[in-house]
């Protein structure tokens, strides 16, 4: 299980290939890449703040929880912080399992929990000013299905 919190960008294709090669006995590999959405063509940049120390712990705890719920041959989480532009990748999750259901469900679980339980905060910078992205009720509701 690998958790990386980093400022620099990453290549999702390379990461997926090396993850796939590293897992033993998996018949299914699922990956998700989150990308900075443009705000009606106005986004100048996105700033992601995090809580060094807690971030790594919180993500590891989420991954450990996923491991208790599904049979996983491996899991990878990469999440960036710092200054990002529209179209840049923010984060990536990959899961591997013997059969696809575990990998799909674990990946969705990881995404839902990363969204509202890992200490990251996004700020959008546009020509009309800066604003913190607000958490949505749906994000919290998404956790209740697990």
């Amino acid at each position: 299980m690998t958790v990386r919190v980093q400022e620099e960008t990453f290549d999702p294709g390379l990461e997926l290939n090396s993850f796939t090669q590293s897992v033993q006995g998996a018949g299914a590999v699922v990956s998700f890449t989150g990308v900075v959405r443009d705000v009606e063509g106005k986004l100048a940049e996105m700033l992601i703040e995090h809580y060094p120390g807690m971030t790594e712990k919180a993500i590891s705890k989420i991954v450990d929880e996923a491991k208790t719920r599904w049979s996983l041959a491996g899991a990878l989480v990469i999440h960036r912080y710092g200054q990002l532009g529209a179209g840049d990748q923010i984060m990536m999750v990959a899961t591997a399992s013997r059969h696809r259901v575990d990998a799909f469900q674990a990946a969705e679980f990881l995404m839902d929990y990363l969204k509202s339980r890992a200490p990251f905060w996004k700020k959008e910078r546009t020509a009309s000013g800066d604003s913190w992205v607000e958490a949505r009720d749906e994000d919290e509701d998404a956790l209740s299905r697990w």
């Binding site: 923010i90 995404m111 969204k115």
Partner: protein
């Protein structure tokens, strides 16, 4: 005790952290002490329903005890992921 602030809580207070001596028994007691520090703090803590708290880097509650806690962090609900 180290008290850390993130996102707009940090911006409202104007500093990323304070190191304070406190006898506060709970997070709520600590917030009362912080509010007394000035209007920046009152602004940051005007509605604690909009805030989350972590004790020693674990999410916690406002009525939790601060006994043995070395690091408290206040921040808005998290917005990670895509």
């Amino acid at each position: 005790m180290d008290v850390l602030y993130f996102a707009w809580v940090r911006e409202r207070i104007g500093v990323p952290r304070d190191t304070i001596e406190t006898d506060a028994a709970t997070v709520n007691d600590l917030i009362e002490e912080l509010r007394a520090r000035g209007e920046e703090y009152q602004f940051a803590f005007e509605d604690i329903r909009a805030l989350r708290v972590a004790l020693d880097q674990e999410l916690s509650d406002f009525d939790a005890s601060l006994s043995g806690v070395k690091e408290v962090a206040f921040f808005p609900p998290m917005t990670g992921g895509e």
